[in-house]
Symmetry: C2
Subunit: 242 residues, 2 copies
């Protein structure tokens, strides 16, 4: 009986996923746009036990991943850039992508323009929705985070970071677009480098910020579709000059 | 001596205004865009004494301007739509613009695309920046409001309302654009009718919402330049079909 209940549940999940995928495709109707359903992950980095552990390690002189400049002895090595877990890994920038895929199971998508469909927006903060995006010969990390900067008032923060150096990041422009019910919200900026740490970008508020009410206006049945496009800044400037 | 001090102050103000105007023009470099410097007004509507007075009048059966459906006896008459003051005026929709200009001294600007330059963004909430915008044969009310929805955390809310009926409002699309330091934020929506009350649009969060940190990122020396464009929805739809 339990087996049948579980099977039925799995089939329902599949139908639900297929339906959400179809809805996102309808919203972002441009042909060839890849829709990626991204499930939430409860961020363990901010859980009380992990925070306490991080604090203890900081007190003992072992710094958290964000303080990589002090923590890394070999300047060629960078810490794990996964925003979800406090991970002791460090390695060369070139192998960060394979570490994120293999150890933290973060998906990677190809394509100049994709649609990021974040499910279960109602889940309590802190929650993250994360994918990697491969485009124009580089890999980017897209992070949507639900966080309570002010207690009792969760907000959504979305940003895109280049898995590369700050100098490389300056060559790109990313665009995040929400579009629903005759409303459109667009955020365009230069991506930051993952070396700058996603936590500080979000605490600075230098990203797309949504109140709960705005997030609800753009959500459809608990899912938020974000259109993503990346261009090289040089092309962008040339267009502006035309 | 006092006279000279005052004169000198006025000259300094003029230079400062001219400088801000120049800066806004430089940011929104498109030729022919009209830059309008908008000074803040401390909203008296939310001052404790007025709120108490409004509450008393509601208890006595005299409704505030937002509840115009109940308050107006002649359905042809609408209440004053000024977001700043609780004003007992009521009249026909056609004379709302002249009432706002003459009684509340709200400026009106012509042009399809204008730049709204809000000064003194640091002033404490509640503060409003308001102008009227005449375009495509209609008048619109642009409201930027600094308000503390959550105590101690002021936010900025910007919206555009048609001085007309909700059916007329459905024919237009307005765009608000912030652009500074390689960051761009765009909000596009159908304007609401002034009959729907600006306070409810802001409390619903159905407008451009800025945290203090985002507002600071887009501000230049305490002033925020917002590019405004209005189009008819029919033109907009025709473009989408092409």
């Amino acid at each position: 009986m339990l087996f049948f209940t579980q099977c039925f549940g799995a089939v329902l999940d599949l139908i639900h996923l297929r339906f959400q995928h179809y809805k996102a495709k309808r919203v972002f109707s441009a042909a060839g746009q890849l829709v990626c359903v991204v499930n939430p992950t409860h961020s363990l980095k901010y859980a009380p036990t992990r925070c306490a552990a991080a604090q203890t390690s900081t007190e003992q002189g072992i710094l958290s991943p964000c303080h990589h400049h002090e923590a890394v002895h070999d300047p060629q090595l960078v810490p794990c850039t996964c925003p979800l877990f406090s991970c002791p890994w460090e390695g060369h920038l070139e192998v960060v992508v394979s570490h994120l895929r293999q150890t933290h199971h973060i998906n990677i998508l190809q394509g100049a323009e994709i649609v990021f469909l974040a499910t279960d927006m109602h889940l309590p903060a802190p929650t993250d929705w994360i994918i990697m995006h491969s485009c124009l010969g580089h890999q980017f990390l897209l992070v949507l985070r639900k966080q309570e900067k002010y207690e009792g008032h969760p907000q959504f923060f979305a940003t895109m970071m280049l898995i590369g150096t700050p100098t490389q990041a300056d060559n790109f422009t990313y665009r995040l677009e929400l579009n629903r019910n005759q409303r459109r919200l667009k955020w365009e900026a230069t991506p930051r480098s993952v070396l700058e740490c996603v936590d500080s970008v979000i605490s600075d508020g230098d990203c797309l910020v949504l109140n709960t009410s705005l997030a609800q206006l753009f959500s459809d049945n608990g899912s938020l579709a974000i259109g993503i496009a990346i261009t090289t800044s040089k092309v962008h400037n040339a267009e502006a000059e035309m």
